[in-house]
């Protein structure tokens, strides 16, 4: 099929940071080199800070380990998780760029049905630079894609769309299942390439996976706190879920869009389902309370910034979810600490001197 020549997707190499949490190594970057090399990387090293993480030659990066996080945030470092990939949100906080792309270190380049390598980053950029349509569902999915448009019946007044805050990508091979599903279907692999990007409608919540995620940090950054997980916490593997639910409530309130679908990456590593079950166990019960909480959450009209929205949400978390478990009281406090730390590191005038991480 002949494609009309669309303008090429801008590289945005000076406006986008790639944030990667890691505890082992970054060998996977070799496969991504053709797509990632132009960009600045922010590596957040979890676990033992004395371990040296090898970064492949030729990448421009800054690396932060636990010691750096403690040094930079001081007592506020308590809001950043330890021994969980949730620590990646520290990378969002220290970045100075407009856009963030975050990816797990066991995610590789996938191929589309024609056999061509998928440039996931380019697709995320396309998603973020084109509008979203959360107010009315377009049955042909993303109307701004080549070869698509708004269908009959779609009001013209809604065709301009709204800014896209988040681009949620998917995974071929090992799908993002929870532990019970993994235990029942250990061999299931996602081989279905669904050639669509779509806006998640306003008022609809979804499970946001942090494995392959892009977002507009200037718009929604402060809402992308990945919570208290891992060491010393009663729960794990709900970091991205928590961030996704908070983020969606805020985006719905402020009138921004969230897209899901393309791009696909190839998820290579199935984590141990028994280990996962231990981490998720409480989450599986708690999510039954969390979902109704987020679905009913409303923010007042004077929440006009993301920070204000987030702080109001933290109050509601403390008031309503505190009854479910004391953990949520701690989490609500951590949400406040996060915003304080965010505002400190990202003052409006940008005049504060910020300590740098180790880098090239």
């Amino acid at each position: 099929m002949a494609q009309t020549s669309a303008s090429p997707t801008p590289l945005l190499k000076d406006e986008l940071d790639i944030v990667i949490p890691t505890i082992r190594n970054l060998d996977f970057l070799e496969m991504w080199r053709p797509f990632f090399q132009p960009y600045h990387l922010i590596i957040v090293q979890d676990g033992d800070p004395s371990k040296i993480i090898n970064v492949p030659e030729g990448f421009d990066y800054e690396l932060y380990n636990r010691n750096d996080i403690n040094r930079i945030l001081g007592p506020k470092a308590s809001c950043i998780s330890f021994k969980d990939s949730a620590c990646r949100c520290f990378g969002y906080m220290v970045s100075k760029k407009k856009y963030i792309f975050t990816i797990d270190d066991d995610c590789f380049v996938a191929k589309d049905p024609s056999g061509k390598d998928i440039n996931a980053l380019e697709q995320h950029i396309k998603n973020l630079l084109s509008p979203s349509t959360p107010f009315f569902f377009n049955t042909l999915y993303d109307p701004y894609r080549d070869g698509a448009d708004f269908v009959r019946g779609y009001p013209f007044s809604l065709r301009e769309g709204v800014p896209t805050a988040v681009s949620h990508g998917l995974w071929l091979n090992i799908p993002d299942y929870d532990a019970p599903t993994q235990l029942v279907k250990p061999l299931e692999r996602n081989s279905r390439f669904v050639d669509a990007v779509m806006t998640i409608p306003k008022g609809t919540l979804f499970p946001m996976c942090g494995m392959n995620l892009g977002f507009n940090r200037e718009l929604i950054g402060p809402a992308m706190y990945f919570g208290l997980m891992g060491d010393g916490q009663p729960i794990g593997r709900y970091d991205d879920m928590w961030a996704g639910w908070c983020m969606k409530v805020i985006c719905d309130h402020l009138g921004w869009g969230v897209k899901t679908g393309l791009p696909y990456i190839w998820h290579s590593k199935a984590s141990n389902p028994f280990v996962n079950l231990k981490k998720e166990y409480k989450g599986i019960y708690w999510q039954e309370e969390l979902i109704p909480f987020f679905q009913a959450a409303t923010l007042s009209k004077d929440c006009t910034t993301v920070q204000k929205c987030y702080l109001e949400l933290s109050k509601q978390v403390k008031a309503k979810l505190g009854k479910v478990d004391d953990y949520f009281i701690k989490l609500a406090d951590a949400m406040v600490t996060w915003i304080e730390a965010w505002d400190e590191l990202n003052p409006p005038t940008g005049s504060a001197e910020l300590p740098n991480g180790k880098g090239k």
């Binding site: 099929m1 049905p113 107010f135 009315f136 569902f137 377009n138 049955t139 042909l140 999915y141 070869g147 698509a148 448009d149 708004f150 269908v151 009959r152 019946g153 779609y154 009001p155 013209f156 007044s157 809604l158 949620h168 998917l170 799908p175 993002d176 299942y177 929870d178 599903t181 029942v184 279907k185 299931e188 692999r189 996602n190 081989s191 279905r192 390439f193 669904v194 050639d195 669509a196 998640i200 409608p201 306003k202 008022g203 609809t204 919540l205 979804f206 499970p207 946001m208 996976c209 593997r237 709900y238 991205d240 879920m241 996704g244 899901t260 998720e280 599986i284 999510q287 039954e288 979902i291």
Partner: protein, 437 residues
Amino acid sequence: MRTPPSLVSLAIDSALAHLSNISDLSFLPDHILIDLFLKTLRAGKLTEKILKLFIATGKEEVLSHIEALNIQLVLTPVLPTSKKNLRMSQIIDDNDVDIVIGALHPDLTSFLDEWRPVFSRFHLIIVKDPDLKDELTIPGGFNLHVYTKSDIDKAVGSASTASLFSGYSCRYFGYLISQKKYVVSIDDDCIPARDNNGGLIDAVAQHISNLTTPATPFFFNTLYDPFCKGADFVRGYPFSLRSGVTCALSCGLWLNLADYDAPTQALKPGQRNSRYVDAVLTVPVRTMLPVSGINIGFNREVVGPALLPALRLAKEGKFRWETVEDIWSGMCVKVVCDHLGVGVKSGLPYVWRKERGDAIESLKKEWEGVKLMEDVVPFFQSVRLSQAAVTPEDCVIEMAAAVKERLGPVHPVFARAAEAMVEWVKLWKVVRTQLSP
């Protein structure tokens, strides 16, 4: 001059058309049985059930034919299910489905011939557009009933025929009188599409699959339909929501000529939809969408009365982009489904929509439909039904009252729509009472 058909051959043709209702063939004389068998093969109607019927006769000649042609029973292995208590897609009885076709073109030969491999198992209701003057041409080999203007007049009175069932809305008469649980409707300018491997897409089977597997409107699954083979609910999806709800409406899509409005079609005359998106997803609760009537399936027992012919443009024409009746009907259904706690799916199946019409010519008429959407969409997004509305009929009556009150003053077409909705519910009650045994 052709020899007229014999009584025997007419009888065999009739038996072929009603094969799904026959439970025993052993009484047939051998030569008639063979003839029926060969005609069944030629018509593409040899299903597993019918093959078993022929085998059960025990007649040697039929059995040797089956062996010579190497026809085999396809055994479906019984696999252990890992989803306890979840309804998987059932093999449905052909008798549960009506295919309702609104005939806006007199010659349905190529349309029905193209759809024969898919349609021939089912009962068809063909409703002729009352405004169409020419006689319908319909090829043989189908189990069908045809309804023309006089049939509709007899059933509902000629005033209703004119106000409710002309043009694309003629198909609603088919919904009104159908006795089946599931209805599938496809525009008569669409043919089966082909998937990425070149295979013919059985749109009816896909609609039925959508309607017989649960929908999940309360939380979005990022891997789309979790009941599809090779997919499931993702991490973070609450377990209490994983059994889903009944799917009442299945909205399919279109390759080649997508369902665009006239301005879009005129602006991009060469654009053709060639993107096959291999997904079915549930449209979330409270999310409105433009339902295109070109390719749909629905559970008539659950939402039948909510699919209704109400919004008729003053200059409504015989091209889809000169109408909005289906968009209005679809939003009524969505509101009803949201209220009753059942689901709506969108995505597969695709049909191939043929080139037809000149969008620019259509543009010379008013852009009425396009302008009306500005009022229609906010209305449906905000309409709320009371707890007392527990049936689709109740819901439609409440909605009609809201339409009359809130949209009636905006444009006379809405006041008429409200009246049509009330009239429709009355008709539905009257006709359904007459039809029940």
